[in-house]
């Protein structure tokens, strides 16, 4: 043994075998790496960088700090200043910054940044910047005479917070908190919306996932056990809507389910409903759930089918021959084998449902709004940071679910088809 350990194994040309092997493997590894390099770059460019950029946007905004250098510098020197009564030097710095903003045309950016936490300040900044170069000391009186809102403690709190480009304020807003004169506090009930919508989004997505599973299970089973000729026909029926534009399918549901739509017309014609008592199945939560379930159903059927297809029927036959009832066979033999498919389908449907935007926007009506509709609102109103903070919270929630899934079921058991 001792001799074997000390004698080095060598190749025929005398190099140590270990080193030769390492070189050969390194070459193979390099080649393998080059093969996946395009994919890696693709993932990096289209996935990691945009998401990283979005997360950065949710924590960073230099709209004010970049355009108000004097005031930002002053805030740094005065860590414990009183927002209720800022001194003359602070106002002087503010006025010189306002003049600078007017010159550089950055008023809009600075005002927008402060407006995120103190509504009504964009026009305040614009008016202030226009007047700044004509203001005379003492600046405090001059600015307050221009508009008493310049003395608001919450405005000074907001400016102090915005004097650094890094901030968690967008997360405060995203959790329904408001900046008041004494600092951040819970918003008034009539304004609280985001947390409620998060909760509702997850609840609705969960309901859609369960409905999808109940509908998809028998269909996938039928697809898996029917003879090939019949199952491929059935498969086309599953895939055709899958290939149809999302917008077309959503609009089709509107035509079907609206108050003057086909379903209601038929029910009235058949005498089941009276004309003034038509079903309200569109432009509300019912409409959202029906349309989204239909749109997402293939994402449940396909993984289930791929798992069910390879379950040998002999297991079920063996169970029956050993005396199990058909219910026991289904419950204890069949369902456990379909678990990877159930898990994959549920995860897929749930995650897609959480981020759904266009269907709830079109058929949601008053109570069918989801969090994605508000994210889209802030994207179009160019408050990207708040949109990013909301999206980051959604992402975090999904990652938590993914982690739970991994702990409970195991990610290696995921089977997507």
């Amino acid at each position: 043994m001792a001799e074997a350990a000390t004698t080095l194994l060598t190749t025929s040309d005398g190099r140590p075998l270990k080193a030769a092997l390492a070189t050969a493997q390194a070459r193979a590894k390099r080649r393998a790496f080059l093969l996946v390099l395009p994919l890696l770059l693709f993932v990096l460019l289209t996935f990691l960088i945009p998401i990283g950029y979005m997360l950065k946007r949710s924590l960073e905004h230099d709209g004010f700090s970049g355009s108000a250098p004097s005031l930002s510098a002053w805030f740094k020197q005065q860590p414990g200043f009183d927002p209720a009564n800022p001194p003359e030097e602070a106002y002087a710095a503010l006025v010189s910054d306002l003049a600078l903003m007017q010159k550089d045309k950055t008023t809009g950016m600075a005002g927008t940044r402060i407006n995120y936490t103190v509504p009504g300040t964009i026009s305040l900044f614009k008016a202030g910047a226009r007047a700044a170069k004509d203001l005379q000391p003492p600046y405090k009186e001059a600015l307050l005479a221009l508009d008493p809102e310049w003395g608001m403690p919450r405005l000074w709190r907001a400016m102090e917070a915005a004097s650094s480009p890094y901030t968690t304020e967008f997360y405060q807003v995203a959790t329904d908190r408001k900046l008041g004169d004494t600092g951040w506090a819970r918003g008034a009930d009539q304004d609280r919306i985001y947390l409620y919508l998060f909760f509702k989004t997850f609840l609705v997505s969960g309901a859609i996932t369960v409905i999808c599973l109940l509908l998809a299970f028998p269909v996938a089973h039928l697809l898996a056990v029917l003879p090939m000729s019949k199952s491929s026909l059935l498969m086309i029926l599953v895939l055709l809507p899958f290939w149809t534009s999302l917008l077309v399918r959503t609009t089709a549901w509107i035509a079907l389910l609206q108050e003057q739509g086909i379903v209601n017309d038929l029910l009235v014609w058949a005498g089941i409903l009276s004309d003034d008592n038509r079903l309200q199945a569109m432009y509300n939560m019912t409409g959202t759930i029906v349309a989204m379930t239909h749109v997402l159903l293939p994402f449940m059927i396909l993984p289930l089918y791929s798992v069910m297809r390879v379950i040998p029927p002999s297991y079920a036959r063996a169970s029956r021959s050993l005396g199990a009832t058909s219910w026991t066979t289904f419950r204890r033999i069949y369902v456990p084998q379909t678990l990877p498919g159930i898990a994959a389908g549920s995860l897929l449907v749930f995650i897609l449902a959480v981020g759904y935007y266009i269907t709830p926007a079109l058929v949601g009506g008053a109570d069918g709004q989801l969090i994605s509709n508000l994210i889209s609102f802030h994207m179009t109103k160019s408050n990207w940071s708040l949109a990013a903070a909301l999206a980051a919270m959604l992402l975090a929630a999904i990652l938590v679910l993914y982690w739970l899934y991994d702990r409970l079921i195991g990610i290696d058991r995921l089977k997507l088809g």
């Binding site: 045309k105 407006n115 009504g120 964009i122 919306i193 009506g365 709004q369």
Partner: protein
């Protein structure tokens, strides 16, 4: 990353642009076609310069990206009023000398001839569009049809569901005007907590009978399907359905909320002087009238609204269909972009919270 985004956006916008003296970027569709026929082609023919029209989903986005990337290929863009103000504040646009705009045919200076707010530091209005409400004429007898903004909220006298845009902007103003607030006081009222409560209280009176719409095309569709008996809408959509498709829709102009669409010149435009000449031509009395004969958006100059304008079908008079028709403007409100840049987020949060309650 930002650089990459800007560059790629700019590149996408560049490709497909032929060499031209003036490149105009607009919204495409019927709107872009109207500006092409009314402004781009006649200007090119009149001056001998080459001019092309290119489309964008929202021209404000690519021109901002172009200016930031320092590669501007567009000379004139048609953008929303709020964007014209915002981009001007951000230093993305050239300033426009209002004194150089074309005077009215009777010699009135352009600055006096344009409607208030139609000429800003960096933009000149090309048309005025409006948020109005319209009803289905088959649902109401001619002598018992809705006539005022208040009628929209009167479920007892005018039964049926209502369509409303799902958003705070234009809906809150409309509610206040229906509640009897004079147009001049709408924004001062809405700036106070009591005013906001008043607007939501008015909306509460019809909340259970409202069908909310999001995309502009949904409003005429809801009316056509019989889902609602009246709905707020963009006036051009109702005109298109009524005149183009013969639908029995009637616009009620009382309480209309109108907005300017602006021509702007991005900073660093390759042919700035020609661009200014194009804008002068397009926003002349005749240029604005020509556009209004293609699409039912009103010319923003007094002199352009004097003589009747005919629609391109040759038989429809545009006057009664334009937001700028004096009879249509008796109780009307110019959207305040200043108010909405300040309060959009805040009021929309309140609106969404109100919706879900």
């Amino acid at each position: 990353m930002k650089k990459i985004l800007i560059l790629s956006t700019a590149l996408c916008a560049v490709s497909g642009i032929a060499r031209a003296d003036v490149t105009v970027m607009s919204w495409g569709g019927a709107y872009g076609a109207a500006q092409t026929e009314a402004h781009v082609k006649p200007w090119a023919a009149a001056t001998g310069n080459a001019a092309v029209m290119v489309d964008a989903d929202n021209p404000a986005q690519p021109i901002k990206a172009m200016v930031e990337a320092g590669n501007v290929t567009v000379d004139v863009a048609s953008v929303e009023y709020a964007d014209a103000i915002r981009l001007c504040d951000e230093g993305v646009l050239e300033t426009i000398d209002a004194s150089k705009l074309a005077p009215a045919p009777d010699g009135t200076a352009a600055t006096d001839d344009f409607f208030p707010g139609a000429v800003t530091e960096c933009g000149v209005s090309t048309d005025i569009w409006a948020n109005v409400y319209a009803y289905d004429t088959t649902k109401f007898a001619a002598d018992a049809a809705p006539k005022t903004a208040a009628d929209f909220f009167d479920l007892a006298k005018f039964p049926g569901k209502r369509g409303l845009k799902k958003g705070a902007k234009a809906v809150l103003e409309f509610a206040l005007m229906a509640d009897g607030v004079a147009p001049a006081d709408v924004y001062t009222t809405l700036a106070t907590p009591e005013g906001i409560d008043r607007a939501f209280a008015k909306l509460d009176t019809i909340k259970k009978d409202v069908v909310w719409w999001e995309a502009g095309a949904q409003a005429p569709q809801l009316l056509a399907d019989g889902e609602v008996s009246m709905t707020t809408a963009y006036n051009g959509r109702i005109f298109g359905a009524a005149v183009g498709e013969g639908k029995p829709f009637q616009i009620v102009w009382d309480g209309q909320i109108y907005e300017n669409e602006m021509y702007v010149v991005p900073k660093g435009a390759p042919n700035k002087d020609l661009a200014m000449d194009f804008i002068k031509y397009a926003t002349s009395t005749e240029g604005l009238r020509a556009q209004a004969s293609h699409i039912s958006y009103g010319p923003p100059r007094k002199s352009a609204n004097v003589d009747p304008i005919m629609y391109t079908d040759g038989k429809t008079e545009m006057g009664p269909n334009l937001p700028t028709n004096p009879a249509n403007m008796t109780n009307s409100l110019l959207t305040s972009s200043d108010f909405w840049v300040d309060h959009d987020s805040e009021l929309n949060e309140r609106f969404q919270a109100w919706l879900t309650k």
